[in-house]
Symmetry: C2
Subunit: 431 residues, 2 copies
């Protein structure tokens, strides 16, 4: 038996705004940041749990304060009962009635709970000697269902529905795991498309993306229609007529504006329009989906919890579901999100990029393929070539595919030297 002895937090900020990497129509100058948590235990095995909330700069200190507020729940507790029933552990943290008032289940407090849940999963996976995707993929359907909080979901997804989905996928698990290990999981890249780049840089990065084997690129749009038309023309010319090009408005538009803008770009062949409007606007997304068809609507990186995903699916408001590893209540809530997508037959193409999001979210897609949806059809994970060097297990993307990580853990552990160098206030960090 061991105990949790500390919940150590760090405010880490990278000065990415200096290069305009990551600039889009809503976020002109992000400093990619991590409100980082490390769970330290009394165990002789030396294993600790690492996770973070991703932010884009200011406010990362508020996110750290929210992580600190969870220490009272965990420090001093016996570790094994928490790890042995991660469903109960997740429900206990999400269910704190006083903390719940700060959301409920959304924003700063919910993301902090998600990070702490993820850090516990990191310990669990490291103890098992398995990467998260493999740990989850080797659980029984019953064990997986027990991880999920079905509160507010049962009018769309019941535990019985979830069990059926998982059982249907069970016979093919071994074959798909071999396929995944052999060929990896498809990736697409956003690297060419940031708003701050010149047309020359856009064209060069498009050529590189195709040469690197990516199956799709994505361009940021929404600041200026004429600019978007020009940039899409450049990208389409470089990529050829059939290569998938998605666009991303980062919540910039009103509903009617989204419909008009996307229709004005449709001639260039749009794989999907991502985040056309407020991430809270389920009915607005549904209206947009009807108004821009056959262009598909994608959203989810800012979907605050499973209740929003449930409604987006119920309302036919999205055709591509984009989970994020650090936005919702951790691995457990993302399993609920994967099961919802499977129930409605919608492909999950996770949001990634930022700092460490690629490293983290690949595990969820790989678990989805092996044990939930059982399909790669229309599935791919976003890839952005930023800041991977700071991670103990950096993503390994080759030939346009994420290679399945084999190192134990959830993939969110940042190198100690990077954590120290980019701690807020140190000389390398964002000002």
């Amino acid at each position: 038996m061991s105990r949790i002895v500390a919940l150590e937090t760090t405010d880490i900020r990278f000065p990415t705004s200096l290069s305009l990497d990551g600039s889009d129509a809503m976020n002109p100058d992000p400093d990619y940041s991590a409100a980082y948590v490390r769970i330290v235990t009394s165990s002789a095995d030396g294993i600790d749990g690492h996770a973070f909330v991703f932010t884009i700069g200011r406010g990362n200190d508020v996110q750290v304060a929210a992580l600190d507020a969870l220490a009272g729940h965990l420090v001093g507790r016996e570790l094994e009962p928490l790890l042995d029933d991660m469903g109960a552990t997740n429900r206990e943290l999400i269910g704190d009635s006083q903390l719940r008032w700060l959301g409920p289940e959304k924003g700063v407090m919910h993301m902090a709970i998600g990070a702490v849940v993820n850090a516990l999963w990191d310990i669990k996976a490291k103890r098992a000697g398995l990467p998260l995707w493999q740990l989850l993929s080797r659980m029984s359907p019953e064990e997986i269902v027990a991880l999920v909080d079905f509160r507010y979901l049962t009018n769309a997804l019941t535990p019985e529905d979830a069990l059926q989905i998982l059982r249907d996928a069970e016979p093919g698990r071994a074959v798909r795991e071999q396929e995944l290990l052999a060929t990896g999981f498809p990736a697409y890249t956003t690297s060419p498309g940031w708003l701050g780049y010149s047309d020359e840089k856009l064209a060069r990065l498009c050529r590189e993306a195709i040469a690197d084997g990516f199956g799709q690129i994505k361009l940021k749009v929404g600041a200026d229609l004429d600019d978007d038309i020009r940039r899409l023309r450049v990208a389409r010319e470089v990529c050829g007529p059939d290569f998938p090009i998605a666009i991303d408005a980062n919540q910039r538009w009103e509903v009617s504006e989204a419909i008009a803008w996307v229709n004005a770009l449709a001639e260039f062949g749009i794989a999907w329009i991502e985040e056309p409007t407020s991430p809270d606007d389920v009915l607005g997304h549904a209206e947009i989906a009807r108004g821009v068809a056959p262009v598909r609507v994608a959203t989810g990186e800012h979907a605050q919890n499973r209740v929003i995903f449930k409604q987006l699916l119920q309302a036919d408001a999205l055709a591509v579901m984009q989970i994020d590893a650090a936005r919702v209540g951790g691995v457990n809530e993302n399993i609920a999100n994967l099961l919802l997508a499977a129930k409605f037959g919608v492909p999950v193409c996770p949001h990634a990029g930022g700092v460490g999001l690629c490293e983290a979210v690949q595990h969820l897609s790989m678990f989805d393929f092996v044990a939930v949806s059982g399909s790669l059809d229309g599935r791919m994970i976003e890839y952005v070539d930023h800041l991977h060097e700071h991670f103990v297990v950096p993503t390994d993307v080759q030939g346009g595919a994420y290679r399945a990580p084999l190192a134990p853990g959830i993939g969110m552990e940042m190198k100690a030297a990077s954590r120290a160098a980019y701690q807020f206030g140190s000389s390398d960090a964002a000002a």
Copy 2:
């Protein structure tokens, strides 16, 4: 010209869990708390701005950290330009792209921005020598429209729609202000209905509520159906067959459960069912509204922002809209919410109680009556008789009506002695 010299914050917690005041099916042991902000200026007039975010205990420190994170936006700034264009001030704070990532426009960070916006309104109202409701009610329709951020609203409410609503109400303003000053704004009381109370206490408090002139009571439900049937029978016997009794489930139920539970209680005559399920579940509320008709659905105290209210109205998911003074992005966003309700013809009956929420939200309802909806029909403000003694201008409820406050300001200023006595960590505060 004066400057903002400090944004002073305090973590204030009252030990209300000791008496079970405020206990409901989701919140068994709240410690009513305020993450308090005071804006100090260099002006010789001695006026400072007071506001707070209401929480129920743990996490109040996180909310204070979010207030502190806004100091960089305001300290050192010239005050008059901020106060002269509160629409722009509000949009600037809401629009900080890095802080926005923490929501967007929801949870801890959004509520903090709301409190700071409100504290600025407090200064503006005190400088004008007017209570907030009167300050707003004397603005022109054009000035009021300029306060509203219409982002994400225009498929339901345009600036032109808002202007028309306000112009239609303009001729009757003076008459309604006189009516309000003469008779006050109707109140209902939740005091009898907390789950922790005995049947005897419930019956006694029902009798007192009627004797005090309240036009409606509300009972907490949702923990145990048999208990709810027994308590509603007690209340109905005491109140007589025609007295309005609302019920409040505080988000306890699944959609199907809500429909079945409410229908099982319908024989007792239900004025409205409040917060039947997740506050995020627009489509769920719509399904419940259809399933429990003619019982009306009320919600909104946890609606995170105007985008949720917009959808609840679009989907016919609520019949009573319950704004909260401290949940959304301050006075400005609540003006948007009042305009949305007026556009859809739905009455606003604000959430209050907690600590200081009655003092604050009455201003918004009174403004709604004088200058927006122009109606008292079906409108009333919740009243709970807790903790009013800590405020500089406590609510004055007589004969079941809120008397219109005449003291300058927004009503959220807590007495300095109370702030000191209940500062977290002091001997009187919640542990």
